[in-house]
Amino acid sequence: MITPEISWLAILPELGLALGAAAVLLVEVQWKPRAQVLGMVVAGALTIALAFTVVQWIRAQDAVAGAGQLGDLVAFSRMILMDGFAVFGRFALLVTTAIGITAGWRLIEGLGRRRAEALALILLASAGFSIMVSANNLVMVFLGLEVGSIALYVLAGMTRSSSTSDEAALKYFLLGSFASAIFIYGVALIYAGTGQFEILAIRSFFSAFIVTSPGVILIGIALMIVGLGFKVSAAPFHAWAPDVYQGAPAGFVGYMAAVAKIAGFAAIARILITGLGDLEVNWLPVVAGISALSMVGGSLLALVQADIRRMLAYSSVATAGFVMTGVVGGATSGVLFYVAVYALQLVGSFAVVAAVSGPANSASSMDEYQGLATRSPGLAAGFTILLLGMAGLPLTSGFVAKFGVFSDAWSAGYQWLVIVAVLASVLAFAVYLRVVVNMYMSDAEGPTLEVPDTARWVLMIAAAATIIWGILPGSLLDLASSAFPL
């Protein structure tokens, strides 16, 4: 009998998160401590996970540089990978989780005894998505996706006092499960066509054989694109996003949207670019079409929204389209950089929304932002930086990210897509400018806002990151471009 070789390092970050989730629940049951104590347990779990991620990163870079063996990066009978791509995605997820929890802290505190459940769910969701970005086996991708998504469905319905929260939870649940079922059917058809679940094995299959009747495989690829497109809210599969962003508790939405985007795009990039790169003539036009539709449709619909959360939802649909141009370009580093940068901006923006309209509320009309600059100058300034960053103004990280994915797509021969993307960027700019004008150009009304310290920190970190990586993008760009998938 062969004993399987187990490289625990590959899953130590996820183990840390999962054990952290268990620890939070147990500590809550045993001692019923103050919220700060639970926060420290969570911070401990995240720190441990981040530390192991750094170890993995060093090991991945050594292996690529030739000091170690590439085989070391494949663990658990080729189920989990520790390559630079996985580690970068995991790192982005962990940082987003830490900032997301901080942003939602006032909401978590307000949940009373259920706060431990919320924290545990957040850690479990991150563990699931972390598995998703590092999985080599498509069934593992599905498992990670479901562990993450199921936790997010519950988080969406966490504030039971608000009737929109359970509506958002149900819509997210029904459409999310629908998308997962479509994705796994795609996986099953790929398996039927190739006999493989492993992404790396699928790649060698397609480079070794020319498939003469690829019908089943093509349907499988299409279904996987649809399923993952749902998860990253790309048009035309975005119908759930506005309702969920609006109905779910504001303190969690930023986190929920950001981690789903990071994990979804990491999976899309790995499956399509790494696994199915040899079939790209078949899927490139489809992804380019989805990308164009998302950019234009998302920006147009964002323009007409009266609720800031729906506006942010449609703008995230547009952003999904922009990131997809990077997938069309075929360079994973641009995709990673874009999602990492956008995740921070998204969490920061929803920290502002939670501060302005209350962390558990669901109404967040654009009018509430009128004259925010006089009522709370710091909040307005930070929000402006984030919005301009999302719009992709030069000297913000959003510009560097957009420039990267657009130039990848241009050199891949998709010039028309880049032209559409630039036009959509102009439209998107109008969307964000509308909020900025609303904050600065109209008269103040209403009382001065009381902004929680946690939201202030999150906003400061997100705005600083947006500006620093806009002026000196080198540090993050170097990391992203040395984050090779195997």
């Binding site: 509506e167 629908f178 729906r310």
Partner: protein, 101 residues
């Protein structure tokens, strides 16, 4: 007549489509949820048939994972539906229209 894997996979595809269209057309949250289960079971049938045809255990092992995921989805899904039903005493998704814009 030999009933090969293609037959099973055709039945599975039909089941999957029934589930997908059911989800899109029905308006009761419980029925929609059952349609999702039907889709997942169609996937299971596909995997078993393909695994059998390829003489590979992987497909049949994957079915267990999908079954467990489906069970976890039932737990969360029914809880959400019950929470909705308590508040509104209806499980029709047409009544859920507070969120729009």
């Amino acid at each position: 007549m030999i009933v090969g894997a293609e037959w099973y996979m055709t039945v599975a595809a039909a089941l999957f489509l029934i589930g997908a269209f059911g989800l899109l057309l029905r308006r009761n949250a419980l029925i929609m949820f059952m349609c999702i289960e039907l889709m997942l079971n169609a996937v299971n049938l596909t995997l078993i048939a393909a695994g059998r045809a390829l003489n590979d255990l992987g497909g049949q092992v994957a079915v267990f994972f999908i079954l467990v995921v489906a069970a976890a989805e039932v737990v969360v899904g029914l809880a959400i539906i019950v929470a909705i039903f308590r508040r509104r005493t209806t499980a029709s998704v047409d009544e859920l229209s507070e969120l729009r814009g």
